[in-house]
């Protein structure tokens, strides 16, 4: 079956652009911006009170539905809560959900991929059939099935997202393992008489794990989008929690009059996903050239 998920395009700029901006080691403007954005998101997640001093749940009915202004940069919601404060305070839970889901997906993918890639043709065949079946539950379908069984909520939604990304990861890890195992340096190590364990630990694993790091960075962005989608559909985090998807879901009711209630949480989702993609790619490029 050929419907697999691949790493998006990497270092493929035209020759002149590649020579100028993509010289390994040289930091580009894009990377600096992505780094600054990451710093902001990490600060917002760890110490939200530094970035937005207000109370994310503080109700002020007199200033409900205010447009974005100097006092409320992103406007206010139906209870007069400041959207900017809420979005910043939601960063922690949204990033945590994304990171947890990615770890679950990668962990499962690593187990399945290693089984398929390292333990002979019989295991490989079995795991591949399992993966093929899992691929027939595309995208959200597996997540929805999981939520049907275990009920909605933040934790089930997180596991559900992790679970539905696992087959994709498993495929990539398996392919990577097989490529590495057949490479010249592994052959050289075998000829030199290194034991299987030594080859696995010293040569195969490090060369498989580096690309995993890239996958993880790229995956966090997607996981955040998916988890927010589940919250939006009412199957994950629920209002009044300051989680981005839940905030968007709450803003849906007032979409005709207060667009800013939906716009800014969504903007933050897009920004984190874009940041994750840019970081993942630059990591990928550096690892390749290193």
């Amino acid at each position: 079956m050929s419907g697999d998920i691949r790493l998006p395009a990497t270092d493929a700029a035209p020759a002149e652009a590649r020579n100028r901006a993509h010289r390994p080691g040289r930091v580009t403007i894009t990377e600096v911006t992505a780094g600054a954005a990451t710093l902001f998101f990490v600060l917002a997640a760890v110490v939200p009170h530094w970035v937005a001093p207000g109370n994310p749940l503080g109700i002020d009915p007199l200033s409900a539905f205010q447009q974005p202004s100097f006092a409320h940069g992103f406007g206010t919601d139906e209870s007069g809560r400041d959207i900017y404060t809420r979005v910043v305070h939601g960063t922690g839970s949204s990033l945590l959900i994304g990171a947890a889901a990615t770890s679950i997906g990668l962990g499962l993918g690593l187990v399945l991929g290693t089984l398929a890639g390292m333990f002979g043709p019989v295991v490989d065949f079995t795991v591949n059939r399992v993966l093929e079946v899992l691929f027939a539950f595309p995208g959200l379908l597996l997540a929805l099935l999981f939520i049907l069984v275990f009920g909605p909520g933040v934790i089930t939604a997180t596991i559900a997202v992790g679970l539905s990304t696992a087959p994709g990861y498993a495929r990539i890890i398996r392919a990577q393992l097989i490529t590495v195992r057949r490479s010249a340096y592994v052959e050289a190590a075998t000829v030199q008489g290194l034991s299987r364990a030594q080859i696995l630990l010293r040569h195969i694993l490090p060369n498989t794990l580096a690309p995993l790091f890239v996958l993880a960075t790229l995956g966090v962005g997607q996981a955040i989008v998916w988890a927010a989608t589940l919250s939006y559909l009412g199957l994950g985090a629920e209002p009044p929690a300051a989680e981005w998807g839940a905030m968007l879901s709450a803003g849906r009711t007032y979409i005709t009059s207060a667009w800013w209630m939906s716009f800014f949480p969504g903007l933050f989702i897009v920004l984190t996903a874009v940041t994750a993609t840019v970081l993942g790619r630059s990591l990928d490029r550096r690892l390749r050239h290193a």
């Binding site: 691949r6 998006p8 035209p14 595309p138 995208g139 959200l140 099935l145 275990f150 968007l248 939906s262």
Partner: protein, 295 residues
């Protein structure tokens, strides 16, 4: 393949805590009497041993009987089939539009110099990161509420199709565009393009006859996956635009724990997905005759 999907869904839904018979009668809060529960169990075959239920389930699936909905008390088969058309329509249209957009972006950004290159790749990254639900909301605000061009609730006419299709197509175009651009560049640097240029073919000829075919290959093989992601996207888009379709049916069934409907939708999606994968394999062979020779 379908058997495996059927088996997984059957045993997965048996893990659901609570009595399915109670679910039929409106959940644990309905205080259903013991006789009513027993009657429901008999009607849905829930009083049989698990293994018998499983075999029964498989036999009925094989004959195309998907059971009855708990919540709606109608047969699942006709229900799901009646919803399939709407979803297939927007998914197919979105796939087509995404292909055109991705191809346009990829060709433009590889020939327009450095600014086009950065703009193109930037657009693709942002497009690929757009969550459907947010993008749909933004489109509604701008095109329905501010400009009033398209209806916010998808009517049956063509105008109602525009926003849902655009919502589904743009993020997908971001993904496809990234992949297409990479393979287009590889193709443009390859010897056969050099020899075509040496023969004196025009730039357009080189691109549209030789290079595009290679650029399309990985994107074609991704289309099966893309279709899957479109179905998940349909869950969101159909809910937001209040369009009838498989996605909305699935979401409603999951929230009301209507197990037979969920199973029905999952089975149909699996069938469509398998067909799509076969189609993409065929498509890849058409675009790359080497594949047929090799296997």
């Amino acid at each position: 393949m379908l058997w495996a999907v059927a088996t997984i869904t059957f045993f997965a839904v048996r893990l659901i805590p609570g009595d399915p018979a109670e679910a039929v009668l409106g959940g644990p809060g309905s205080m259903a009497s013991a006789e009513a529960l027993a009657a429901v169990r008999r009607e849905y075959g829930l009083d049989q041993p698990l293994f018998v239920q499983y075999l029964d389930h498989l036999v009925r699936l094989a004959t195309g009987d998907l059971g009855r909905s708990y919540a709606l008390s109608i047969d699942v088969g006709p229900l799901v089939l009646s919803q399939l058309g709407g979803t297939l329509l927007i998914a197919t249209l979105a796939l087509g539009v995404a292909w055109l957009l991705a191809l346009a972006l990829a060709t433009w950004s590889t020939r327009g110099g450095k600014i086009a290159w950065y703009l193109g790749s930037g657009l693709e990254i942002v497009a690929a990161a757009l969550p459907h639900f947010w993008f749909a909301t933004a489109l509604i605000v701008v095109f329905s509420i501010w400009l009033g061009i398209f209806p916010p609730i998808s009517t049956s006419g063509a105008a109602g199709l525009v926003l849902p299709v655009v919502t589904l197509a743009v993020p997908l175009a971001g993904f496809l565009g990234q992949i297409m651009r990479e393979s287009l560049l590889l193709a443009l640097e390859s010897p056969f393009v050099l020899s075509a240029r040496a023969r004196g073919e025009s730039e357009a000829g080189v691109r549209w006859i030789h290079a595009v075919r290679h650029a399309a290959l990985p994107a074609i093989s991704l289309s099966g996956w893309a279709f899957g992601s479109l179905i998940s996207g349909a869950v969101v888009v159909e809910t937001i635009f209040a369009r009838p379709g498989l996605g909305r049916t699935l979401l409603n069934a999951v929230t009301s724990r209507d197990v037979p409907v969920v199973i029905g939708v999952v089975m149909i999606v699996a069938v469509v997905y398998i067909l799509m994968t076969l189609l993409t394999d065929l498509g890849s062979r058409l675009a790359d005759p080497r594949l047929a020779v090799r296997s």
